[in-house]
Amino acid sequence: MENKKTLVVGAGPAGVRLALERAEAGEQVTLVEKFPSLGAERIPRNRLINAEQAFDSPDLEKVRDHKNITIFPYSEVKRVTKENGKIKARVIKHSLRVDNTKCNDCKACIRVCPVNMFDDFNEGLGFRTAVDYFNPINAEYNIFKEDMPVCQRTCPVNLDIRGYVGLIADGKYAESLARIRERLPFPASIGRVCPHPCETACNRQYLDEPISICFLKRFVADVEIEAGIEPTYETAEKKYPEKIAIIGAGPSGLTCAHDLAKMGYENIKVFEALPVPGGYLWVGIPEYRLPKKILQREVDLIAKMGVEIQYNVRIGKDISFEELRNQYDAIFIGAGCHRGLKLRVPGEDEYEGIIDCVTFLREQALGIRKEGKGKLIVIGGGNAAIDSARVGWRMGYDEVYILYRRTRKEMPANPWEVDAAEHEGVKLQFLAAPVEILGENGKVVGMKCIKMELGEPDASGRRRPVPIEGSEYVIEAETIVPAISQGTDLSFLPEEHDFKLTRWNTFDIDEETGATNIPGVFAGGDVVSGPNIAIRAIAGGKRAALGIHEYLRSK
């Protein structure tokens, strides 16, 4: 019988100890550690020491020489799957770039290397150079090379930020924009609306303030627009005939279409339920943040690659999902989260004048809802709440309130958006929650609220709001917009279907390929992640495009 095969992830003290234990017991052990060496000696945390025997040293030599242990330092574990009791894993072994059998530890390389960097092995207390040893005990040398800078690593689509910002500094705007477009077909739109996780990660913040990465992207995109340049998105010369259907012309769907068209797929059709493209970018993000003509231009550029977009077609109504499955070789679902969640308070469904934020923003964006009168109350603390309030203020409501059950600090909305809303005259009311919608003659006249206080932290780490008994009060309002959260609307699927869904009613997909459990059907964007930011939806579209390509080519 073959020996039991065991994978130990992490070569800290616990990993090294367990690897040895298992190897001694006769198991075949593979030890994977992402740093270039095994763990350091540690001071015990469970007993008092005497000064002479202070450190618990892992027996590195024994681990290294053990016939049952294979060590992969500087390696990552990817694509782990569990099947029939077996675990499959892909180990990416990064190159050390130094042949340690030849190295004679003369330190000549360390002495000339021009780069000083934090020595991670010593918790940053000292410097190491780019070529250096990691753990002094075994003095194994390596060249430390990150695959990408922290901004790029943080960006969901891994934009080459260092490159395109550098090109702007050099005054090469067109090249900079081309660099962005290599991975992102919406530079002007995303350059306006992205909450830029890259900036939150930017190393410059430790010195003073992060680089304004997002707006620089907008800058180069606008330079092209102002110069009246009409670019073309190139497609590969080698063409593929397979038919691909894409449900939803939002950021994930259109990016998926774009990437597939770029790879050479010629028969891509996007089905959109609304009369406009862009999904939430069009009907959720208001015009004052992202002008429709900017978005339309970027959609047109994708359409010009040969992608057909059919508007006003609702899957499940105008054409059934099963028909799509029969007619197309692959399907991408990017249907988004376009259903506003309910408050679940009495009176909610009884009166005219209560309208969820998704519908409110959509009707305004489509020109169905033009003007507002009287008092508007928006309930919620996310970006959709702020957008609804700022839209309401522009529509002419006399007074606009945002009611949020926690405090400003806990608001999930971007702080700069909250500031802007306040600046425009939107009034914020914190620590209050709705109890009942009040109405007369079929119309909303107000809302009964209750004051809240913050209690213990909940699962999200934010302090849970607790109602203060007897603190109910009534506010008058003609229009109430709940902006609690959004959910998926999967009514386009047949009633009986085999899709694996999560408990949030989103698609459960393969994280590497975007594939659902049904062969040939992929999903991405909010319909997978729940309400999230556009750039993440775009990343979902990109991932699925690669997944679809892999699927179709291996068929």
């Binding site: 740093f35 540690r42 190295c103 010593n122 918790e123 040398y141 060249i143 707006f215 943040r289």
Partner: protein, 272 residues
């Protein structure tokens, strides 16, 4: 400067503007009753200056000077990464060597003063193979401190954290005292009294170590010197004391890749 694994050591260069560009906007009056775009975009000069603030983060430059200098020709930039698809019967997930920890309260001075360090950094400092050859030195100026404080970074936590944390603190004190002449160590933790009484009465006998029951509040550098002023609430109210160097006891946290793997396989992480 806050040290983070994979972070970058930054030295300011003279010509870099430190202030981030502010996006120009139309006035509030101009916004009322219409949907005109609020943010008007960076003018060219502003954009270029902002772009020039970029540090172009890159550690290894790929200049190959090491390769040119290496006599035994051990350096090989073309050595490829390898990808292996493997199959196992069992997976054990343990913390990697990230030593990540829960964010510390800024008031305790970590990331602000170079001579406020973490217990993990102190552990490396005490190691003979560490960055100071095992000597206790203040990262502020290389001086050997005579008054050292070790303080609890998460005093609100319960015994499950405070106990191992304190043991580490006491062990580090024992080592530091052994290695350093004329050193006094003060350990401030809300768990000190219980610890001495119920768990390790021998901790009291460590010469040069004073265990103080208290909750650290803030650390400030004195305006007229290099000393660090620690404020803590003790058994009889708020107290202040001056130190040359301060070590903050941290609370371990799993790195994101390890916790993601644990979530994905629905399997616990095994710690030491």
């Amino acid at each position: 400067m806050i040290y983070e694994k994979h972070g970058r050591y930054i030295i300011p260069f003279d010509d870099v503007p430190s202030q981030r560009a502010v996006m120009p906007e139309i006035s509030v009056e101009e916004r009322k009753g219409n949907f005109v775009e609020v943010e008007t975009g960076f003018p060219e000069e502003m954009a270029v200056n902002e772009a020039k603030r970029c540090l172009g983060c890159r550690r290894c430059l790929g200049c190959a000077l090491c390769w040119a200098e290496c006599k035994p020709e051990a350096i090989d930039f073309s050595m490829p990464d390898e990808t292996l698809d493997l199959e196992f019967d069992e997976v054990i997930i343990t913390p990697a060597q990230d030593n990540t920890f829960e964010r510390l309260d800024k008031a305790l001075g970590y990331g602000i003063y170079p001579h406020v360090i973490t217990d993990l950094q102190f552990e490396r400092m005490l190691s003979p193979t560490g960055p100071t050859d095992g000597l206790v030195m203040s990262p502020l100026n290389g001086q050997i401190p005579s008054r050292l404080a070790i303080i609890q970074g998460h005093p609100e936590e319960d015994e499950n954290h405070l106990l191992p944390s304190l043991i580490l603190g006491v062990n580090e004190s024992i080592l530091a005292l052994h290695k350093t002449e004329e050193l006094e160590v003060t350990l401030v933790s809300p768990f000190s009294d219980t610890f001495e009484k119920d768990y390790l009465p021998e901790a009291k006998k460590v010469k040069g170590l004073e265990l103080v029951n208290g909750k650290p509040l803030s650390v400030k550098q004195e305006t007229d010197g290099l000393g660090l002023l620690l404020t803590y609430t003790g058994t009889d109210g708020e107290k202040q004391q001056e130190f040359d160097m301060i070590v903050v006891l941290t609370k371990p946290k799993l790195s994101s890749d390890i916790s993601n793997l644990s979530k994905k396989l629905n399997q616990e992480v095994v710690s030491a």
